[in-house]
């Protein structure tokens, strides 16, 4: 059955829609969100997603703490964010409604599983009255759909017990949404079949629920008509959907191949970074070694050892783990070995908001080691960009023999978007030769630097004649022997700094998006790229001029950044922290960059930045 064709009423065309699926953790919202996203991707829309997991502990069913949500933004044009506010909220129970309602603008659509709006659930959600009856939803277009009971009905013929049948209600909701937005249904049915191949009764129940949802839209008198969102004119290429954590994992694998090095990933599980470990653990046939260490310090130590031994060594974590790795990273700086530290930032301080996003580890990445211990910092800007960012981090690490900090965040890690697959054969060669010969007469000096990059030779164990010892005590320039000489320490400290600073000559100039020679620049970094881009588009759509620059490299900065910033009368830096990048550019360039911050565990809404820009344009 290809159901689009059966729709009697004409679908209205929309440029875009933002849908949020919300329900209990056990309701399978992430799964249907993923499915809808995939269908839309295959259909050709541009899209972006924002999963919102409940906090790390499993909360009792029906409570606010247990609500799990998934937001997807689909469009017929290029989009860069998962959308500020949902146009449609699917609420599987009262708690889901309560937890998400505040994010909705009036006039939005609510699809409510009315079966769950009984006293017990209302109590659990903390509703004194039933919101469906007390008029509190008057501002919205509310559709009360008995999702559970229709699902149970629909699956009864299959002999499914009601308790089990209920579990398919998410597919009912998906079916209904698919009808509303005229999605192709065959791929979904195929997917269900494949996924539940080993449990035919589940497969059948889910398909029945899905069809029931679809048909409900079709036949119930509730809806005037369906909508359609045309495919977006994406640039040509082969696409897939990808989350940040997967893209990052693939980026590391690609970099290892391009560097002709074995990949070694040592990590200790931590939300939201664990999926990188999970992903890479599957890739044993790529020669990828993964190790779940006893803690983050060990993981960092293992990475250092693997780097010394000649692997492309990575250790990934989130904020608390970066804290713990600080001392080991100082050692890596001192040893001048290539290595990547992935920090998937989450809400802090301390345990903070472990499943939420934040950008508050930038200054930790810059300064979180005792002594002068500079590390290059690279940040990803979107889920799919994690691939390129990982590749770039590896390039710098290997070429300059330095640990590199690679920053992503919870939003990028779990968010998804379509991605044009890169041509893997066209990836640049980022390999460097290992040292094989003495470099100072017939001696080998492990700290004799390449005059251009200031990198020291990478001589790996097993190489005859190049035996040497490295350590964290200050080393004599050149020989690398222990040295307590005052001037040598000063020189080495400056050399290490100069090496990192010199990378500025090897990265692109700032790419300023400034079609109209604006006087006002917005400077963004990391995961705020999308919201900032969208905000500047909206500003321009209002006929005003605005410039936008986004930083992939946070240390060193592109060498023209100061000049660029000074070109503008006003500079705004939106960040999900209390103004960390703004501190850095102010100190470096004495530019009066204004900081716009929000630390709420969620990405910026484009509207927030838009309004801030408008406000500053006023003043």
């Amino acid at each position: 059955m290809t159901v689009e064709a059966t729709s009697a009423r004409r679908a209205e065309t929309l440029p875009q829609v933002v849908i949020r699926f919300a329900g209990d953790s056990g309701d399978g919202m992430q799964l249907v969100g993923d499915r809808f996203t995939e269908l839309s991707a295959m259909f050709g829309n541009d899209l972006a997603t924002l999963p919102d997991f409940p906090a790390e502990i499993r909360a009792p069913a029906g409570t606010i703490a247990g609500v799990s949500a998934f937001q997807v933004h689909i469009s017929d044009h290029d989009i860069v964010t998962p959308g500020d506010t949902p146009n449609v909220l699917v609420a599987m129970n009262p708690a889901a409604l309560k937890a998400n309602l505040r994010d909705l603008a009036s006039g939005s659509t609510l699809l409510i599983n009315v079966d769950t709006f009984e006293q017990r659930n209302l109590d659990k959600a903390g509703y004194a009255q039933n919101p469906l009856h007390d008029g509190s939803l008057a501002a919205y277009r509310v559709y009360e759909v008995p999702m559970t009971s229709i699902t149970v009905e629909a699956t009864k013929p299959l002999g499914v017990k009601p308790r089990d049948a209920e579990r398919s209600k998410n597919f009912f909701a998906l079916g209904l949404i698919c009808w509303m937005y005229t999605r192709p249904t065959d791929p979904l049915v195929d997917w269900i079949k494949k996924r539940f191949a080993s449990r035919p009764e589940v497969f059948e129940a889910n398909v029945a629920a899905f069809r029931a949802g679809y048909n409900f839209g079709e036949t119930a008198e509730l809806f005037d008509h369906a909508f359609q969102i045309k495919p977006a004119p994406l640039s040509p290429g082969e696409y897939r959907q990808i989350t940040g954590n997967v893209a990052l994992s693939y980026g590391l694998v690609a970099a290892a191949q391009a560097a002709k090095l074995p990949l070694f990933y040592a990590s200790y599980p931590i939300t939201p970074a664990s999926d990188i470990l999970h992903e890479l653990s599957k890739l044993k046939n790529f020669g990828v070694k993964t190790l779940q260490a006893e803690d983050e310090i060990s993981a960092a130590g293992i990475a250092i050892g693997a780097a010394f031994a000649g692997n492309l060594a990575i250790t990934g974590t989130s904020g608390p783990g970066v804290d713990l790795k600080s001392e080991a990273l100082g050692l890596a700086v001192s040893l001048e070995l290539p290595m990547i530290v992935v920090d998937v930032q989450r809400g802090g301080p301390s345990t903070g908001l472990p499943t939420k996003t934040e950008q508050a580890d930038l200054l930790l990445a810059m300064y979180g080691r005792h002594g002068e211990a500079p590390m290059p910092i690279v940040a990803a800007s979107s889920p799919s960009d994690c691939f390129a960012a990982a590749f770039e981090a590896a390039r710098i690490a290997i070429k300059y023999r330095t640990p590199v900090m690679l920053l992503t965040d919870g939003y990028l890690a779990n968010g998804a978007e379509p991605w044009v697959l890169p041509d893997v054969d066209a990836l640049p060669d980022i390999s460097v030769p290992f040292a094989t010969e003495p470099n100072h007469g017939d001696e080998f000096w492990p700290y004799l630097r390449d005059p251009e990059t200031l990198a020291r030779p990478w001589a790996i164990p097993g190489t005859p004649g190049l035996m040497h010892r490295v350590g964290g005590i200050e080393k004599e320039d050149g020989t690398g022997n222990i040295s307590y000489d005052p001037d040598n320490h000063d020189r080495m400290t400056r050399l290490r700094a100069a090496k990192v600073a010199g990378i500025a000559n090897d990265i692109p100039l700032v790419d300023v998006d400034d079609p109209d020679r604006a006087e006002f620049l917005v400077l963004s970094w990391g995961g705020t790229w999308g919201a900032t881009t969208e905000a500047t588009r909206r500003i321009r759509a209002r006929g005003k001029n605005i410039a936008h620059a986004h930083l992939r490299h946070l240390n060193p900065f592109p060498r023209d950044l100061g000049e660029v910033l000074h070109r503008y009368a006003k500079v705004l830096v939106p960040e999900l922290n209390l103004g960390q990048l703004s501190k850095l550019v102010r100190a470096e360039f004495l530019v009066d960059a204004q900081s716009f911050t929000r630390v709420a565990g969620v990405p910026f809404h484009a509207a927030e930045i838009e309004n801030k820009i408008l406000e500053m344009m006023q003043s």
Binding site: G44, P187, S235, P236, G237, E238, Y239, R240, Q241, I242, Y250, V253, A254, P262, F264, L283, K284, N285, F286, G287, V288, K289, L291, A293, E294, D295, I297, S298, A299, G301, I302, A303, I304, G305, A306, F308, A309, G310, N311, A313, A328, G330, L331, L335, L421, P422, V424, D425, P461, G462, T463, P464, G465, M467, H468, R469, V470, G471, G472, I482
Partner: protein, 347 residues
Amino acid sequence: MTDGNGNGAGGVAVKLARKDFQSDQEVRWCPGCGDYGILTAIQLLLPETGVLPENLVFVSGIGCAARLPYYMNTYGVHSIHGRAPAVATGVALARPDLDVWVIGGDGDMLSIGGNHLIHALRRNVNLKILMFNNQIYGLTKGQYSPTSEVGKITKSTPFGSLDHPFNPVSIALGAEASFVARTHDMDRKHMTEMFRRAHEHQGAAFVEVYQNCNVFNDGAFDAILNKDARPDMLIDLKHGQPVRFGTDGQLGVTMNEFGEAKIVEVADVGEDKLVVHDETRADPSLAFSLSRLADHPDTPTPVGVFRAIDRPAYGASMQQQLVAAVERSGPGDLGALLRSAPTWTVE
């Protein structure tokens, strides 16, 4: 694939000597420090093993003991305090062809580094771990360590320490170590033998070396190591032999009904009541009870190999998984990997 014997590629046996393993760096321990003798024992053993200097990696943390790598003409990492087992794990797993040694003091390995040590042991990473136990913090000038006896007066415990010490052999056994031995800095031959055994072991080999810090804890082991004390105070464990010691072998060890090793006069019980040492017992209980004979090195103390069992080394198993994966799925294809989710094409 065998884990790191380090004999290297060529296959041509080169005859090496002690000096081939000596670096050009001046050895900088206090005159009289026990570390000198240990270094010598290592440098004397290595030529016999056939391993080439370039295939050796010595990894250490921080402490007097941890300076040892600088004196070896091999690859080496003098890392940070306590983390040597982690760094060495990285080396050994990245490169199972290498021969990786870990050197550290009692503070380095049992205080700040205790966790990495016990995890390296349970994982059975192919590391030769030598812990120089001087029952003191040497490098930081004399604070007590996790192996110092209760009541120890040191700079940080002017009224005596309160902590019950670890017995390094016991904790290693409790941590599932597959190889555990003890030796001391006064007997080069015994040291060399223990290091050789550790080197031959596939997996994590833990060797406790009693070491005299003549500056901050001089004579800590005199009660058992003084030349004339040794016969009655050192119990030399030998695989397959009854556990017997004393000047005339008059003393021995039996097992009581609680599984506790007890020292007896052989004449009192008869030789056949003595425990026959077996390093290879799957159950570490024998080794453990032997380790309890001496709570502190002032009563008869066993030295030698407590335990040496076969268990897959981590690096080898890891390698096998990689090989098996390639056999199962073919070598990784990056293009295919990127396409492991549904794709679509925009023209």
